[in-house]
């Protein structure tokens, strides 16, 4: 690990002389790496080595913080630990953030027990306390950790930037620290990935349209492309960013609502609500808003507050309507395209 950029030496400690010391400031490379994974580049391989690290000059009484081995998580945590002396126990979550890994079980009871044993933590610190991120609680059974290895789990705040305050307040979190937020900034940083994923699928759509164009009486052109692109942007960027301000609760409905407004505006601007383009205009009105709705519905996976029961209920209502509307829209568009 010594060649890692975030590592700046080794901690000398009686029982474990070679524990990497981690820097609390991020380099330009760390920041660039964060931008890349936000756009889905190398995201599945953005990891740090699991195991024990140190911050500052910890001793056997210093607190132990537990986290995941997704480098974006690791960087967010360490940059919030400046001027602190503590230990970091990094679990092998296969490069996934704490909350998602807890849901999958990789940030879990068994992995934590294994890392405690492997790092010989009980020899390094004399106290028996672990501070876990609160969002790890859906994967870690704190009662079982205490029972099986004698360490008691303290669930810290949701956000890393509250940790200093949490420790200063004697390991207590106020209600504010315990609640997951989903601010416009939080939502905005997630949208590039939504867009990149949708763009990949769009390439297939463009391929099909290109083939249809070989037989078309009215080939697809730039105007069609722009209307389609607008629908994708509405589903992947505009709806997620404006989420709480859009009426309704179901994500699909929110996406459809913005989608129908956006599409109507574009079709009207094109003059496609009047003959001879009416068929095309109506076809797009049926097909594009539900495309936005579907993309917006997929944002439930990135959101911090949707329950599986709720998402399932939403999908059972929305999916049949989306498919029906999409198919009837496509039929109208094809009639115009092939018939002229």
């Amino acid at each position: 690990m010594s060649e890692e950029k975030f590592c700046c030496g080794f901690a000398g400690c009686c029982a474990a002389p070679k524990i990497p010391v981690v820097s609390t400031s991020l380099t330009a490379q760390d920041i660039l790496g964060a931008w890349k994974v936000r756009f889905g580049i190398g995201r599945m391989d953005y990891t740090v080595e699991p195991g024990l690290y140190s911050i500052g000059q910890p001793d056997n009484a210093s607190p132990v913080l537990v986290s995941a081995n997704y480098k974006l998580t690791f960087d967010t945590l360490r940059k919030n630990l400046c001027a602190l002396d503590c230990w970091l126990l990094i679990l092998d979550t296969k490069g996934v953030n704490v909350w998602c890994a807890a849901g999958k079980g990789t940030f879990g009871t068994e992995e934590l027990l294994y890392r405690i044993e492997k790092s010989e933590l009980a020899e390094i610190v004399t106290h028996r306390r672990l501070i876990l991120p609160q969002l790890g609680a859906s994967g870690v059974n704190s009662n079982e950790i205490l029972r099986r290895c004698g360490f008691s789990v303290i669930f810290g705040p949701v956000r890393a930037d509250d940790i200093q305050k949490f420790i200063a307040c004697g390991y207590t979190a106020d209600q504010e620290m315990r609640i997951v937020k989903f601010t416009m900034r939080d939502r905005l940083v997630l949208t590039p990935l939504e867009l990149v994923t949708a763009a990949k699928i769009s390439l297939m759509v463009f391929g099909v349209l290109f083939l249809i164009n070989l037989f078309a009486a009215r080939p697809f052109g730039m105007r069609d492309f722009l209307a389609y692109t607008a629908a994708v942007l509405i589903g992947t960027v505009i709806t997620p960013v404006l989420l709480p301000f859009i009426p309704g609760k179901a994500f699909a409905f929110k996406g459809w609502l913005v989608g129908i407004l956006g599409t109507a505006l574009i079709i009207w601007a094109y003059g496609w609500f009047s003959t001879p383009f009416l068929l095309l205009g109506l076809g797009y009105m049926l097909a594009l808003p539900v495309h936005s709705a579907f993309l917006a519905m997929n944002f439930t996976g990135s959101s911090t507050y949707t329950s599986p029961s709720g998402v399932l209920k939403e999908m059972k209502i929305a999916l049949p309507l989306i498919i029906l509307s999409l198919l009837s829209g496509l039929v109208l568009i094809l009639i115009k395209t092939l018939g002229g």
Binding site: N141, I179, F251, G301, S309, E314
Partner: protein, 100 residues
């Protein structure tokens, strides 16, 4: 601005009789679903529950039950094809979508 999702859908079930007043549920819940009142936990915001399962897993008295899972449409669609329980697909080799 507070986010609101569908009402009356959560599978959260809580048995007050069993509560030992440790307060763990109020600690782990990311949406303030529980509060402590007169030394017992009470459910104050069931519609905010996202069924993450943290409370049920960490309740030492087994007083809480919830069908935990991921609230992700994409994961649910995948599970219909694979026939398995929906999981967050982030770390699967052939799947590079969802949570960051």
């Amino acid at each position: 601005m507070k986010h609101k999702y569908l009402s009356n859908v959560s599978t959260l079930e809580y048995n007050t009789e069993r509560c030992r007043s440790c307060g763990r549920c109020t600690e782990v819940c990311p949406h303030g679903v529980f509060a402590i009142e007169e030394k017992k936990a009470i459910v104050i915001a069931k519609d905010s529950c996202m069924e993450c399962g943290a409370c049920a897993l960490n309740c030492p008295a087994g007083a809480i039950e919830v069908k935990a899972g991921v609230g992700c449409a994409y994961a649910i669609i995948l599970s219909w094809f694979s026939g398995k329980e929906p999981t967050c697909g982030c770390a699967d080799e052939d799947n590079d979508v969802c949570c960051g």
